[in-house]
Symmetry: C2
Subunit: 111 residues, 2 copies
Amino acid sequence: MAKQADSKKRRVRGSRTGRPIMTLLDLLGQRWSLRILWELRDATLTSRALRTACDEASPTVLQARLTELREAGFVELGDGGYGLTALGRELCETFMPLHRFAERWHSKSGV
Amino acid sequence: MAKQADSKKRRVRGSRTGRPIMTLLDLLGQRWSLRILWELRDATLTSRALRTACDEASPTVLQARLTELREAGFVELGDGGYGLTALGRELCETFMPLHRFAERWHSKSGV
DNA sequence: CGTGTTGCTACGATAAATGTAGCAATAGAA
DNA sequence: TTCTATTGCTACATTTATCGTAGCAACACG
């Protein structure tokens, strides 16, 4: 079966369809993406504070993710440091139920 | 040397806190995790069909992810192939609003 | 028997993340 | 001014994750 077109340059890794959900899934499917959004859910953090919050993740990836999340319009850098944009807050609330799910999941599998 | 995650107490990458949400975020933050759940959202797929659905992702990672998702209790292998468990379906619905968000996000940014 | 599935694995090549170190810019004392 | 002490951010070598191709054994059809 003929594969997709000759897109040598993949926009977002893995996803070549261009479908928004795939692009989003790929962006969020990168290391620390979800975590960063989570840590910024109700606080504005400096880059160092964010690093601390993220288990001392390497600044290299953290900066890379922050750049991507900023370009995506989810995160912005203001006076007090990094924070969520209105859009980012929307996104964050979208998967906020994940928290409750995680607790239930843990009690089901872990106990 | 099948060196799969054969332990229930495996340390999920990045997260050392043990908090359920972190464990979940780390699991879902791996490549293809979210995508697999998404593709199985309303269909049972064979491993090959799933591979096709996932832009021909390499079977190596796909199998690794499937193993992890199975150990997590989100995915199961039945007669017709891979499908979501009841728990997995719950999880999937948890971030289903992401679809609508992605559409809105896409129309806002660029285009 | 051959042909075609299935789930799954080996393994070299490539891409991504880690960990440590350090940069320039800024701000507040002294 | 100079001495700290932050900030956001980057270099770079090492380690880890993923890719891509190939192929396995098991099972089902004919």
